[in-house]
């Protein structure tokens, strides 16, 4: 729980990072959310960080939802789009671009 604002956050196996490089966990999260923005743009869904522990999702109809891990995120995206998002769909991965000689 965040000691300042009292927000509970859940441990998430997907967010366990094996990295001890130069990037801070805060920076890692910003990069992760940038990737998610690219993917969710294909479904007209916006995503933003919420207190460094949760994600806030919003669709074009004004639906908003706060989620705390990637599994819940895909579940909420499914409820917004009425079907789950498929990483095997070329429409989804065409927005992903390679890193340009950039180390995090």
């Amino acid at each position: 729980m965040c000691g300042l604002c009292g927000i509970f956050f859940e441990s998430d196996l997907w967010n366990q990072s094996p990295e001890h490089g130069p990037s801070s966990s805060r920076r890692s999260r910003i990069i992760q959310i940038q990737y998610l923005k690219e993917i969710l743009s294909t479904k007209n869904i916006k995503i933003n960080d919420f207190h460094g522990t949760q994600y806030i999702l919003e669709d074009t109809k004004g639906n908003q939802s706060l989620v705390s891990n990637l599994h819940d995120l895909w579940s909420t995206v499914e409820s917004f789009c009425y079907k789950p998002i498929d990483p095997l769909d070329p429409e989804i991965y065409k927005v992903m671009v390679p890193l340009k000689n950039e180390k995090e």
Binding site: W14, Q16, E19, M96, E104
Partner: protein, 321 residues
């Protein structure tokens, strides 16, 4: 001082395959000092447990979960049993062996352990050991989806009732199992089978070239295997991609095993999932693997494996360091 995590091994196998016999041999033949550090949880479907009655180990070291299968009805009891082990014998116990029912699905068992905030801090994933009865091999393979799940989930397979089979027949069975799960290691039952499986480093993972360069195969009905070689990976993209894949295709991704290196770390990481259950990532030593080849193995059902390879490539997860 930080305490080492307790290793949880899962002993599974179809009804009548010989799980309890193997467990009994283990209790009779294993080093007494090691046995003192081992706790056993036995799950039985019936209201009255039978299996534990034929084991010789003192009753207080064995937990019996009766009247329901671990993967559905007695899930909470499993958590309670593990917590009880911590409470009573926390300082001594290093290993926990869970014997499942013959019909158990492994994925919910792993999920219930590693989605619990307390248990994930204290336990780590060990081996999934599947017992296969060579007499009923064909019948189980054709008629029981539980059998296929257990084979696909396994790290080690022990063939039982093999004494009357000739070598050609045994090799045929081994070959067929390897087609369903190329990452598993197969041995014939002997009185030390369980300790052998627990202590064995997975040669198929060590000898990764053998696995990761294998060709995509179309084998056991709709079950396919695909191997992907990687360089270092962008961990953030990987977690997004894989979580999305497991969410969308839950039930179709049967098993993933991988040795990876994140682009910001020099540590080797062992990734392991059974259906939608993901075990915590384990760091492995460089000395425990034969070469520095990295990659993933997927065992899937009803998915075009080419699409997985294409998607992995187009997400640009694999990167030059």
């Amino acid at each position: 001082m930080k305490k080492n995590k307790l290793t949880v091994h899962i002993l599974t196998g179809f009804l009548g395959s010989g799980k309890t016999t193997i467990l009994r041999d283990f209790l009779n033949n294993e080093d007494k000092e090691k046995l003192k550090k081992t706790a056993i949880i036995i799950n039985e479907v019936g209201e009255i447990g039978i299996d534990h009655l034929i084991l010789d180990k003192p009753k207080e070291d064995i937990s019996i979960l009766e009247n329901g299968c671990l993967c559905c009805e007695t899930n909470n009891e499993l958590k309670l049993s593990l917590k009880r082990i911590l409470a009573i014998n926390g300082s001594n116990i290093e290993t926990v062996i869970i014997e499942t029912t013959g019909l158990a699905n492994i994925s919910p068992i792993i999920n219930s352990i590693f989605n619990d905030r307390e248990l994930i801090l204290t336990f780590k994933m060990g081996k999934i050991i599947t017992i296969i009865d060579t007499n009923n091999y064909q019948e189980s393979k054709l008629n029981s989806p539980e059998w296929t799940n257990q084979v696909v989930s396994s790290d080690q397979i022990v063939l039982t009732k093999h004494e009357e089979k000739n070598n050609i027949k045994i090799n045929e069975i081994k070959e067929q199992i390897s087609k369903i799960n190329p990452t598993t290691e197969i041995s014939l039952k002997n009185k030390n089978s369980l300790s052998y499986c627990i202590e064995r480093k997975n040669q198929k993972i060590q000898n990764k070239n053998q696995v990761f360069y294998s060709i995509t195969k179309d084998n056991h009905s709709q079950i396919n295997t695909v191997s992907i070689n990687t360089k270092h990976i962008d961990w953030k993209k990987f977690s997004i991609w894989l979580s999305m894949l497991l969410y969308k295709h839950q039930g179709k991704i049967l098993r993933i095993k991988a040795i990876l290196k994140s682009m910001n770390s020099d540590e080797y990481l062992l990734f392991n999932s059974v259906q939608s259950a993901v075990a915590p990532i384990e760091k492995i030593e460089r000395k425990d693997i034969n070469n520095n080849q990295l990659g993933l193995v997927f065992i899937v059902k009803d998915i075009d494996t080419k699409k997985i390879t294409e998607s992995f490539s187009n997400f640009h997860i694999s990167v030059e360091k």
